[in-house]
């Protein structure tokens, strides 16, 4: 069962890959950049999903994929002109397919309403195309590899199921024909299933090597006429018994079971040999060339065009029923039952094999596009930790060497320099392991844009840039939500309706531009639209109305724009399905700040708005300002710092009993004595002797932190204090400094909150008592 589960998992992993390829291909189509190769790729993707889905009896998925595939086939054979409607239909179908896959993966029942509607649309497209489509094949015989499709689709698509009884006479083989030739030909015409009738097979001793003993019963479903079938046998009609009956489509025989067994390379080889009639098969059959060995040659399931009637096919009485569905096979990528023929004859007489579209089988689709391995994240993190340690020790060692009186020019010192370079490089490389291109987030956007645009009734074109920019995996994972929200906002609030756009002299279709790039050690993601821009009077009015700003406040344009990040602010006059749930941009801002990032907005009336997110490249490392407070060294996250200053005595005012305020350009901010608050000092420090660091918190409030001095800026490796200790109020983590000592990293938000609460609540004594 585990093996089955593993195969299933592989199937869904591959599905995900296929879906990406399908969508990428379709998008290329939309942009008019598609060539035949692209269409084939899309087709293969859908086909593979269908094939695998059939093996797992995911009927809804199979049904949909089949319809989708049929439409794509029409496109590929150039029977459909890909106009805009068509491209949109395929894109939506890809979305629906992805939903169905997700539903199947999670074992949920898919919401079929959407897919059913699409199904009808897809079938409408197929119906209008040439009915004869199926018959005219070109080696690309992409027919379903799967179960029950005929029963699901046969009737609607105007398909018929035929039962063909075919029994070759000795003469047929004597005239250098082979049954396989006909079966293969039939397989190109529709959904096929073959049973080998071995009734007439005598005992081994009585076998006449030149006689024909086998008959075949073929069930064939497709849009074809009995005449088409008869035509296949045109030249051998006299050398065989042939009976063609049109059967009803819901014939129970039309469906067959696919059993999963362990894929076996050897079997695969034999199967391919059989199907392709390549040189391989001659080798494979060679062993069976002698009569004596016939009875032992088990598992060679079907005949071969190039071998005489005494081919392996007849050698194995037990291999009585060979089911075979037609259709081609997209190489070895499918986790489907194509390799499942088991050499033990008694075990599974019913086997499904894909018929060989040689072109496909021979071509390793999508050859290694960059080799990857999957590694447990913990291992990577451990490696990162160790390298961090190495860096620290290397620094310590160099310092000791200098202390020991080594000159900078001596060999040892040069060696240290080289070592330093190496360790830095090592650290960068190790960090790069965790980095991933933002593509994984970006590739979900086209779908989002499509859906949002549809609901909002707007026409949107998405342009993405810099999708290969690499960021830490954790950040990528957390990037998705804020990005989704911002794009929704851009479409829902930013872009105008097509009519308004025309009035404003812009193209009907709005553009949302998402770009990623690295700037000075951070990743910057911009989401821009070419909409109306922020309506500042409206924003200001709402903010005043909601009591977020005082009516008297004089605000700059920039400040007004940033009002949209205030908690509880929502400009949507009506609550739409998309945005305006009251959790607007403030949530976005918070989630970005929790990643150590910032988000800003720039807007130009009539021309559009642009959100700019700036994020650290990794969460394992933080840009920090190293400061001292009391006798201790502390790290303040650089992303929080607005500016630093040396206060004058006149700027600091007492406020109430203990609290002090600092006047920064006529704004009074609370002055937080870090050393005192963390208990590194008993008495308040002298502000004029220290440095004030102005910080901005997640809610946009500012505060002033008083520290004794600034040592400098540095990237520090973040270590958790919670694993072995627990939460420390005002401290977000710790790091290890160059001297090997632990330094705490401030959690500025928490620190400020703490300072607001009564100082006593942080008293060690109370904590101890609570314990």
């Amino acid at each position: 069962m585990d093996a089955m589960e593993a195969i299933r998992q592989t199937f869904f992993e591959e599905c995900a890959e296929q879906l990406v390829e399908v969508e990428t291909g379709l998008l290329a189509f939309q942009d008019g950049e598609a060539d035949d190769e692209t269409i084939d790729g899309v087709f293969r993707g859908v086909h593979s999903i269908k094939g695998g889905a059939g093996a797992f009896h995911l009927d809804a998925l199979v049904a949909f994929a089949h319809a989708f595939e049929t439409v794509l086939d029409e496109l590929r054979s150039k029977r459909i002109e890909p106009d805009e409607t068509f491209v949109r239909l395929t894109l939506r179908s890809a979305d629906a397919l992805s939903d169905l896959v997700a539903a199947a993966r999670d074992g949920e029942t898919a919401d079929t309403a959407k897919s059913d509607a699409l199904l009808a649309e897809l079938e409408a497209v197929t119906g209008s195309a040439d009915e004869k489509a199926e018959a005219d094949e070109d080696g690309f015989a992409f027919q379903p590899v799967t179960v029950d499709v005929s029963t699901l689709f046969g009737a609607e698509a105007g398909e018929t199921t035929y039962t063909i009884a075919f029994r070759p006479h000795d003469k047929l083989y004597a005239r250098a024909n082979d049954s396989m030739t006909f079966l293969r030909e039939l397989s190109t015409m529709g959904e096929m299933q073959v049973t080998c009738d071995t009734e007439a097979l005598p005992l081994l001793a009585d076998i006449d090597p030149e006689a024909a003993y086998f008959g075949f019963v073929v069930t064939l479903t497709g849009t074809l006429e009995a005449e088409d079938i008869r035509a296949v046998f045109e030249f051998v009609e006299d050398d065989c018994e042939l009976q063609i009956d049109a059967a009803s489509t819901d014939d129970a025989d039309a469906s067959f079971e696919m059993e999963l067994a362990t894929p076996d390379e050897a079997d695969l080889l034999v199967l391919q040999a059989m199907l392709d009639g390549t040189d391989q098969d001659e080798e494979a059959i060679e062993a069976t060339d002698e009569h004596a060995s016939f009875a032992d040659t088990e598992g060679v399931g079907a005949g071969d065009p190039d071998t005489a009637p005494e081919s392996a096919l007849e050698s194995d009485p037990a291999q009585s029923g060979i089911s075979r569905s037609s259709g081609s096979e997209a190489g070895k990528r499918e986790p489907e039952p194509s390799r499942q023929q088991d050499p033990e004859p008694a075990k599974d007489p019913s086997v499904s094999t894909p018929a060989g579209g040689k072109k496909e089988a021979g071509k390793p689709t999508k050859a290694a596009a960059g080799q990857t391995i999957r590694v447990d994240l913990d291992r990577v993190d451990r490696l990162i930790d160790l390298v961090g340690e190495l860096v620290i020790h290397q620094v310590m060692l160099s310092q000791r060497a200098v202390e020991a009186g080594l000159t900078r020019t001596c060999d040892v010192a040069t060696g240290f320099e080289e070592l330093e370079q190496l360790t830095r490089e090592l650290q960068d490389s190790v960090m790069a392991i965790r980095a991933q291109p933002v593509k994984s987030v970006f590739q979900r956007l086209p779908r989002l844009v499509r859906e949002v645009a549809e609901i909002a009734g707007k026409r949107v074109r998405l342009v993405t840039q810099g999708e290969w920019t690499e960021v830490d995996k954790t950040i990528i994972e957390k990037l998705s939500d804020p990005l989704t929200h911002m794009i929704r906002n851009a479409i829902d609030h930013g872009l105008e309706t097509p009519e308004d756009r025309v009035v404003a002299g812009k193209p009907e279709e709005g553009t949302v531009r998402v770009s990623a790039g690295q700037r000075s050690g951070r990743i910057v993601i911009e989401i821009g639209d070419d909409g109306a821009g922020i309506k500042r009077d409206k924003v200001r009015d709402i903010a005043i109305e909601k009591g977020l700003v005082s009516p008297a406040a004089k605000l700059t344009d920039d400040e007004i724009d940033n009002l949209i990040f205030m908690p509880g602010f929502s400009t949507a006059s009506g609550v739409s399905e998309l945005s305006g749930r009251g959790v607007g941009m403030d949530v976005v801002r918070q989630s970005i700040q929790s990643l150590g990032g910032r988000v800003t907005i720039t807007s130009e009336p009539g021309k559009g708005s642009k959100f700019t997110m700036s994020l650290p490249l990794t969460l394992a490392v933080l840009d920090g300002m190293i400061v001292t407070a009391g006798d201790e060294t502390i790290v303040v996250p650089l992303s929080m710092i607005v500016e630093t200053m040396r206060p004058k005595a006149t700027e600091v005012r007492r406020f109430g009993g203990e609290a002090r305020l600092i006047n920064v350009r006529d704004r009074f901010l609370p002055l937080i004595d870090v050393g005192l608050l963390l208990g590194y000092r008993d008495r308040p420090g002298d502000p004029t002797a220290g440095v004030v660091i102005l910080v901005e918190m997640e809610n946009g409030d500012r505060a002033a932190l008083l520290v004794d001095g600034i040592q400098g800026q540095r990237q520090v490796v973040i270590k958790s204090t919670e694993t072995n200790y627990g939460m420390i109020p005002g401290v977000g983590g710790a790091t290890i400094l160059g001297d090997g000592r632990v330094a705490l990293i401030l959690d500025v938000d928490r620190l400020v909150t703490c300072s607001r609460e009564a100082g006593h609540s942080l008293d060690p004594a109370t904590l101890q008592a609570a314990e």
């Binding site: 930790d385 201790e632 200790y725 000592r741 705490l744 060690p764």
Partner: protein
């Protein structure tokens, strides 16, 4: 075997078959203590720690143990004695309990003892003594008295979890 079982069953915690246990013995002031060797990860010299804000007084601070931020408990203070004055002979015992690693600052490690469990006895019930909370057993070896520290209860958040 049955004999051992009856013997150990009377008062001590029942343990599988009279096995020998190993303990790391150490000093705090003049008193001797020990911990089960299975919970000891390593023993290292004293290194200065970074104080932890708002921490209980017995938490000495954080040290860097090869990249891990390791909290250090001043075991003397935890047991209600005067704080340890770190000297060159002060030692940090790195212990592991419930997946949490922490250091115990003690005055010095004396030896490793192999003790038959019959030598272990429950601590006398002296209420009001802080140390009583962390001592699971006492033992008498060659006229020395050692108290077995239950590391599970040394770290406050573990005591809550357990």
């Amino acid at each position: 075997m049955p004999d051992t079982l009856t013997q150990s069953a009377d008062q001590n915690e029942p343990r599988a078959g009279g096995a020998l246990q190993e303990f790391v013995a150490f000093r705090i002031g003049a008193q001797e203590f020990c911990v089960d060797i299975m919970s000891v990860r390593e023993i290292r010299g004293f290194s200065p720690a970074t104080p932890i804000p708002h921490a209980p007084s017995f938490v000495h601070g954080f040290i860097n143990l090869r990249g891990t931020v390791l909290p250090i408990v001043d075991l003397a203070q935890r047991l209600g004695f005067a704080p340890i004055e770190p000297t060159e002979r002060s030692v940090t015992i790195v212990a592991l309990a419930h997946g949490v690693v922490f250091g115990l600052l003690v005055d010095g490690v004396s030896d490793i003892l192999t003790v038959d469990e019959s030598a272990l006895q429950p601590p006398p019930d002296i209420t009001g003594e802080v140390a009583r909370r962390f001592i699971s057993e006492v033992m008498s070896i060659d006229g020395r008295m050692l108290s077995v520290i239950d590391v599970d209860h040394v770290m406050p958040q573990l005591a809550g979890a357990a």
